[in-house]
């Protein structure tokens, strides 16, 4: 395992070093020590490498990740794994606002709680949260799956498109155009797979969840729905 001391070597050196791994896989295992809440740690990676950050991170850790597996042994600041394309990001602690925002692929696992706007505008990413999620989560979510083992805050899935939301606990309120939907066998299969890959299959069973999705009533403008906006 390669060790990178972020305090000593700096952010620019960290990201350039990790970017240089594209196209070669000799050094596939990395640990970042002394992150001290720095922003933009391990952003824009594009190689099948494992990066473990030993401590908590600031904004946008693992932003736009491709292929890499990034594990944060602490909590993550706002926008963790934003616009992720592929790969896996695992947060052992809690995640702040906008976790997985606009993510287009890959898997984000948050073992603690996620704050507000988790999965905002998600576009294909899968998100598994072991704890609770805050208000306005999955706002305008376009596609992908969000699995929440705990509770969801206010206005879940407001104005969402085709993303699937699975919540095991309570939902404080649903946002505009978000409704509970029938859980069919294909959804249970998706859930089973995500619980397993999200390191949560020992914590919950697919049958314990409810599914939420779009009523599709706001897809085309209708003045009679204006009060919904």
């Amino acid at each position: 395992m390669q060790t990178f001391d972020l305090s000593a070597q700096g952010l620019r050196a960290l990201n350039s070093t990790l970017h240089a791994l594209k196209g070669q896989t000799n050094q596939t295992s990395w640990e970042v020590i002394n992150p001290k809440g720095a922003h933009a740690i391990a952003v824009g990676l594009d190689a099948p490498v494992d990066v473990t950050v030993r401590g908590s991170t600031g904004y946008y850790c693992a932003g736009m990740n491709k292929q890499a597996t990034v594990r944060v042994k602490g909590s993550a600041g706002p926008g963790v794994a934003e616009n992720m394309m592929s790969g896996t990001v695992i947060i052992d602690g809690d995640a702040s606002q906008y976790a997985g925002a606009t993510g287009r692929g890959g898997l984000l696992v948050i073992k603690g709680n996620a704050s507000s706007r988790c999965g905002i505008s998600m576009k294909g990413i899968d998100i598994v949260v072991h704890g609770n999620i805050g208000h306005m989560s999955a706002f305008m979510a376009q596609s992908g799956n969000m699995v929440v083992l705990g509770d969801a805050g206010e206005a879940l899935g407001d104005s969402l498109y085709e993303a699937r939301l699975f919540v095991r606990g309570s939902v404080k309120s649903l946002g505009a155009d978000c409704i509970e939907k029938e859980m069919r066998p294909e959804h249970l299969a998706i859930l089973a797979d995500l619980l397993k890959r999200g390191e949560a299959d020992h914590l919950a069973k697919p049958e314990e969840f409810k599914r939420y999705g779009s009523a599709r009533k706001l897809y085309t403008f209708n003045i009679d729905n204006a009060s919904s906006y």
């Binding site: 952010l11 620019r12 990201n15 350039s16 970017h19 922003h39 933009a40 952003v43 824009g44 594009d46 600031g58 904004y59 946008y60 932003g63 736009m64 491709k66 706002p78 926008g79 934003e82 616009n83 394309m85 606002q97 906008y98 925002a101 606009t102 287009r104 706007r117 905002i120 505008s121 576009k123 294909g124 706002f139 305008m140 376009q142 596609s143 498109y161 085709e162 897809y219 085309t220 403008f221 003045i223 009679d224």
Partner: protein, 441 residues
């Protein structure tokens, strides 16, 4: 009694025919008016400014013999690879989705031939545009449609869009008629829905966050690309200052005449300020921070001629951007298509229902039958010609003012025709030394 003259019919100024027609339209349809383009109001504009030209105290340069340079560097503050353009007239962001693929190609062809850049839009980067644009600015928008790190890295600059002049504080719209299979795929949306883009970014709010967002983008792109921040003409002094504080290399400022593919008419006509009122405030912010010319300023919104370019630069801009004018150069609203505009219930010059996707010129459409009509090679040539003419016009004025570079134009070269424009531009009313608002008067 019948011999007495009747009181002639008198139309109300308040309830004009236009207003009444809009009331009836709203009552009949139950939806606000959505259209493309920018403000159609008569606004204080560059037309209200004049150049003074040379005189005894200032001598001119020979029109065809003495050099008047037009090039501009953008992104010299932090970017490892700043952009060098031959002319200071760039093509503003317009999305694939709003425009057809061939129209985007034509913009790339024309801009590249004229030595300038094009800009993507709220729909991601297309091969047509990347392939034909020597210099391509990639917009980073609230919707993040099509956003990916590979396109970030193959862009020449990145423009973080906070707002645009047609609708400061509003998000984009693309109605179902234009959400074709390809547009739907690029935006990851169901085909045919009325798509409304987010009005603010999903993962940052405020200037402190923006600074961190810019840091992230720079880290992803190895600090190579100039980062622009685009704002609508709302609070230009503070927006410019905050963009500089957040680490922008370039500020893009768009006045309310700047176009949009589609938004509410009430938004276009009632929110934001004309570009003339915005430029001096943005320049003042840069000067107050000691960053004028270090952070470059690109202005847009109603730039039509080389005179407009020269006036914007005399007020302190480093470059301008054109959108609507570029579409007109490609063939939008051409009177040759009058019969087809009539079928759509409009007339050449007034056609603004770009969101319906029925553009007979094949520019603002996703209908293959319509966009096949548009020749991107011819369109590119027309755009190149237009850009060259604007540049020559601006040079003509600059030489007449004795300047050997467009950047040497200055407010002292200008006077204003109206009190309003004098106050907004901060130049004297013609024939006086009066700048309204200056020195307490």
């Amino acid at each position: 009694m019948s011999d007495f003259p009747h009181t002639p019919p008198k139309q109300s100024w308040t309830f004009s025919n236009d207003i009444n027609a809009e009331i009836r339209r709203a009552a009949a349809t139950g939806i606000y008016d959505i259209r493309g383009g920018g403000s159609k109001r008569k606004l204080p504009h560059f037309d209200d400014l004049l150049f003074l030209g040379a005189s005894i105290s200032r001598y001119p340069l020979e029109g065809y013999r003495e050099k008047c340079a037009t090039d501009v560097w953008l992104g010299t503050r932090f970017a490892k690879n700043p952009i060098h353009l031959d002319i200071p007239i760039t093509i503003a962001g317009m999305s694939f989705g709003a425009l057809s693929g061939p129209a985007k190609e034509a913009l790339g062809r024309g801009a590249s031939a004229a030595g300038t850049s094009t800009t993507t839009g709220d729909g991601g980067m297309t091969e047509e545009e990347r392939g034909h644009s020597k210099t391509l600015v990639y917009q980073y928008l609230p919707s993040r449609y099509g956003m990916n790190p590979d396109d970030l890295r193959r862009a020449d600059a990145i423009e973080v869009v906070v707002g645009q002049g047609a609708k400061p504080g509003g998000g984009g719209m693309l109605l179902g008629q234009k959400i074709s299979d390809r547009v739907a795929m690029m935006r990851n949306l169901p085909k045919g829905i009325d798509q409304r883009s987010a009005c603010r970014h999903p993962d940052w709010t405020g200037p402190d966050d923006l600074e961190i967002k810019i840091l992230e983008i720079r880290e992803i792109t190895n600090w190579e690309k100039p980062i622009y921040v685009k704002v609508g003409g709302a609070r230009p002094y503070y927006d410019t200052a905050l963009a500089v504080k957040a680490g922008a290399d370039v500020v893009v400022l768009d006045g309310m005449q700047g176009g949009t593919a589609a938004t509410q008419d009430v938004f276009i006509e009632n929110v934001g300020m004309p570009i003339l009122a915005c430029i001096p405030l943005a320049v003042k912010a840069l000067q107050d921070l000691g960053m004028h010319r270090k952070v470059q300023l690109i202005v847009s919104g109603g730039i039509r001629t080389g005179a407009d370019v020269a006036k914007a630069m005399a007020l302190g801009a480093d470059a301008v951007a054109i959108g609507t004018a570029a579409l007109v150069a490609l063939g939008d609203n051409d009177p040759a298509l009058e019969a087809e505009y009539n079928k759509l219930g409009t007339t050449a010059g007034a056609y603004d229902d770009w969101h319906e996707g029925k553009d007979p010129a094949g520019i603002t459409t996703q209908d293959p039958e319509l966009y096949k009509r548009f020749d991107p090679i011819l369109g590119g040539r027309r755009l190149k010609n237009y850009l060259k003419v604007m540049t020559l016009e601006a040079q003509t004025i600059a030489r007449a003012c004795g300047k050997n570079h467009l950047h040497n134009l200055e407010p002292e070269d200008l006077c204003a025709l109206t009190i309003e424009s004098a106050a907004m531009a901060g130049v004297p009313l013609a024939g006086t030394s009066w700048i309204p608002g200056k020195n307490g008067f």
